[in-house]
């Protein structure tokens, strides 16, 4: 249960006891027909065996099963020591020039006014659980930095009573707590000082990853490392990627009556398009839609089957600068070697942010190839006149989810809306929307993390505000008999929606499906045998 008045230095006490527990009746209520808690899937607790083996001292949720538990005092001191050495490196120019100025400013200028908390969807959804305040995590980190990395820190901490003990409890809880944030940056938007709690969260994750080697396996070992080794965190190898897309080309050509062909490795093409490879496996309508659209518009384009060339994800954005740079450079090198004029981001939010802005300054020399969003790319095609559309084919309620990394972080707001206003007669906005949107709950890498009982936390807590928004956007036609489309131009967001919808039976109870933007465009094209978008299961 929610611990009333959780104190900052509670984080260092009672290493084995969770600081809080998630109970569905303490979360903000959902609207009908999802309001009855007895009808909702319960919150998955750890089994007895898991509770014995796994570190779960934060909130009974485990993101990283492999988090090592120290066997003796010596091992505990080793981890504490590594945390401190990591902290010093984080504050040094040589090791952290990439984010030193933003980090120091966010550490030093917080006025502790608590304005940011009410902007945080996780804090609100949790029923205002103190543990999930952006400021809780940041202030603990801040005080540790003050105490251990600033002159007379220990003395000042003891005198001021702002002391936080650095021990195993603190280190392990800070680690897990850094994965209870979507990095959505709504807190940063509301801060009068310009302090950025999401940045502090990411710096914490980076400290753990780059110094202690701790990171969720879905992000690192089976994430960036796997991507650099075989081509994609999904494990999709180049030959399998090509084979799969060939199968899809044929399968969809049959279904649509169009002649769909996806080009690979065309040197000198104008455009290198990089999808999130997971779409090929889980949302194949998306890459196929791009193939249909690009070919119909006569674009000179290609995919790449080089390792790293067909998967635009860059999980390093979430937790690690070294991996961020490696993946970004890998993508840029492939584009350079193909001799394309520009790289277009697929419908993947964090790919946009990692490749177009954050890692931009790591792509020096001939790696600095122009990079564009699929939103502007598609807008140019839709209004370019080469393809004929009939918006009446999209005559069902459509709302738009704004992926944080495309909209709030890059300011790409209108192009996708212009498309939707044109092609979807029943398009309606969520509230709030645009740069004020709520995160889907899968941001910051959480979408691909599903170990132990983490999915339950993602679905019930992180995604709750978004779920409320989606239902509210369709409140005028809520029943399952009205087929409704949640347009989410980002694979991680679609995955999160898939998880939420599965948990709550949303397709059956409310008739809502989630999909990308490209599918809506194809669905409106004249000349298709039958609708491209289907609310039925694939047969």
């Amino acid at each position: 249960m929610k611990k009333p008045g959780l104190k900052l230095n509670d984080i260092s006490r009672n290493a084995a006891e969770p600081l809080t527990e998630i109970n569905l009746d303490e979360l903000t209520p959902l609207p009908p027909p999802y309001d009855k808690i007895e009808e909702q899937p319960g919150f998955k607790r750890l089994t007895e065996d898991q509770a014995e083996r796994l570190v779960h001292n934060l909130d009974g949720v485990v993101s990283t099963a492999a988090l090592p538990e120290p066997q003796d005092k010596e091992e505990e001191e080793k981890y504490v020591g590594q945390f401190l050495s990591g902290m010093k490196k984080l504050l040094s120019k040589e090791n952290n020039w990439t984010f030193l100025q933003p980090l120091l400013l966010s550490l030093d200028y917080c006025a502790q006014c608590q304005t940011c908390n009410d902007a945080c969807p996780i804090y609100l959804a949790s029923g205002r659980n103190d543990l999930y305040r952006p400021t809780y995590r940041s202030e603990v980190f801040r005080r540790l930095v003050e105490k251990y990395a600033r002159p007379l820190g220990r003395l000042r901490a003891r005198l001021s009573g702002d002391d936080i003990e650095l021990n195993w409890a603190t280190v392990s809880r800070l680690y897990e707590l850094s994965y209870r944030c979507n990095l959505c940056r709504r807190c940063a938007q509301s801060c009068p000082m310009g302090v950025d709690n999401a940045l502090l969260t990411r710096e914490l994750r980076k400290l753990f990853s780059q110094e202690l080697g701790w990171a969720p396996k879905e992000l690192h070992e089976k994430g960036t490392v796997l991507q650099l080794a075989v081509g994609s965190p999904t494990g999709l190898r180049p030959d399998v990627a090509k084979d799969n897309l060939q199968f899809l080309d044929e399968d969809f050509s049959e279904a649509t009556g169009l002649d769909i062909h996806t080009p690979w490795d065309k040197k000198g093409a104008d455009v290198l398009l990089i999808h999130s490879a997971g779409d090929i496996i889980s949302f194949p309508e998306s890459p196929i839609s791009f193939s249909v659209i690009c070919n119909a518009a006569g674009i000179s384009w290609t995919l790449s089957s080089e390792i790293g060339g067909y998967d635009g994800v860059n999980y390093g954005l979430f937790y690690d600068d070294v991996q961020l740079a490696r993946v970004a450079r890998c993508h840029a090198e492939i584009a350079r070697d193909l001799g394309v004029k520009k790289i277009v981001m697929g419908e993947c939010g964090h790919q946009h942010k990692a490749f177009m802005t954050v890692a931009d300054r790591t792509l020096t020399g001939d790696l600095n190839i122009p990079r564009e969003s699929s939103m502007t790319f598609l807008e140019n095609i839709v209004f370019g006149g080469k393809i004929k559309f009939d918006p009446a084919k999209n005559d069902f309620p459509v709302t738009l989810h704004d992926p944080c990394n495309v909209v709030r972080n890059l300011g790409i707001v209108e192009p996708q809306r212009r498309i939707l206003r044109y092609l979807c007669p029943q398009f309606r906005e969520m509230t709030p929307h645009g740069v004020d949107n709520y995160c889907c709950g899968g941001g910051g890498g959480l979408s691909v993390m599903s170990d132990v009982n983490f999915t339950d936390w993602k679905v019930h807590v992180a995604g709750r505000m978004k779920f409320q928004q989606v239902l509210a956007a369709f409140a005028d036609r809520p029943g399952p008999e009205v087929k409704k489309y949640l347009c989410a131009p980002c694979l991680n967001c679609k995955l999160q929606f898939r998880d939420i919808f599965e948990y709550y039976g949303v397709k059956e109870k409310s008739g809502i499906i989630a999909g990308g933007l490209a599918e809506l465009i194809v669905n409106a094209m004249t000349g298709l045998k039958k609708p491209f978008i289907s609310w039925e299961d694939p047969a």
Binding site: Q112, D162, A325, G411, V413
Partner: protein
């Protein structure tokens, strides 16, 4: 204090304060170039800042010059500085008190500036009637400033101590800063309502400071206020209250820093990327000394630890 005691005290305190402020500002300026971390809405985006759009919405954005608004950021910062815009929008309950505090500070600064101007003009033979008007305005600014500031500072101390949201996070430093500010305003109120002609005395004092007049002095209440105020000015640059400088960086250098990679940056990046990286995790490859570039470019296709 007598003789040139006031001069020594005032100018040395203010001198140290300015030097420290300058030093802390320079340290912020000299922090290395960082990776982009911008955040919409960015007010310099011409024609788009209403909804938070950026130049990245333009088709093939690199082919056009980036159309920036000059007044957009200025208007935004004016709202932020004078009207506490972010607090108004996102934390309305806190706004009255923090607005009172900040406006109080601004009015006192304005009052002192006006008095300084008055002192300079007096030496140039401006008619006494004009000077008298300035002093009258300064008096109004002083009264309003001290009263508003005191209400703001006292109110914020109470709010931090009583509000369940604020109390756990309000470190001792916060209370010390607010208490010091309160002392400035309260001593100002006391001085204002006890001395014969507040504005005239302040005016005379400042003139004396500028002219080096050894007869410069203040009545006891004003002397107390002046000492507290000058000590506060000395204390200020040691604290986070210099957020008025830091905010230039958090906004302009980070949130609104959306400049794509250019030749000037590449020069700086070359030096930064050549520095040694000593992170310990296996994948960061600190088994031997490596530069940032080597770390980022080297083991692209190897498995961690190999």
């Amino acid at each position: 204090m007598s003789g040139i005691g006031w001069h020594i005290f005032t100018f040395s305190a203010l001198g140290v304060a300015l030097l420290l402020l300058f030093y802390r500002t320079v340290r912020l300026v000299r922090l290395p170039l960082h990776l982009r971390w911008e955040l919409a809405p960015i007010p310099h985006e011409k024609g788009k800042s209403r909804y938070g759009g950026s130049y990245l919405e333009e088709y093939e954005w690199w082919r056009h010059p980036h159309r920036k608004s000059f007044f957009g950021p200025i208007f935004y910062m004016a709202q932020e500085i004078l009207l506490l815009r972010a607090i108004w929008r996102h934390n309305r309950g806190l706004w009255p008190l923090t607005f009172a505090l900040h406006t109080g500070i601004y009015l006192i600064i304005l009052m002192l500036a006006l008095q300084a101007l008055n002192a300079i003009l007096a030496a140039t033979g401006v008619p006494p009637a004009v000077l008298g008007t300035f002093r009258a305005i300064a008096a109004v600014l002083a009264a309003a400033g001290y009263l508003l500031g005191a209400v703001g500072a006292a109110g914020l101390i109470l709010k931090r101590a009583l509000d369940a949201d604020l109390r756990p996070f309000s470190s001792v430093a916060r209370y010390v800063n607010l208490a010091f500010l309160l002392a400035v305003f309260v001593s100002g109120i006391y001085a204002f309502f006890t001395v014969a002609d507040f504005s005239a005395e302040v005016s005379l004092f400042i003139k004396g400071l500028f002219s080096g007049d050894a007869a410069t002095g203040l009545s006891a209440p004003l002397a107390a206020h002046a000492i507290i105020l000058i000590l506060f000015a000395l204390y200020l640059p040691f604290t986070g209250m210099i957020h008025f400088v830091a905010k230039y960086f958090t906004y302009h250098e980070i949130r609104w820093n959306d400049t794509p990679l250019d030749k000037e940056m590449e020069g700086k990046l070359g030096r930064l990327m050549g520095q040694p990286v000593t992170w310990s995790a296996a994948h960061a490859g600190a088994d031997r000394p490596k530069s940032w570039t080597e770390t980022a470019a080297g083991e692209g296709h190897e498995k961690a630890g190999s």
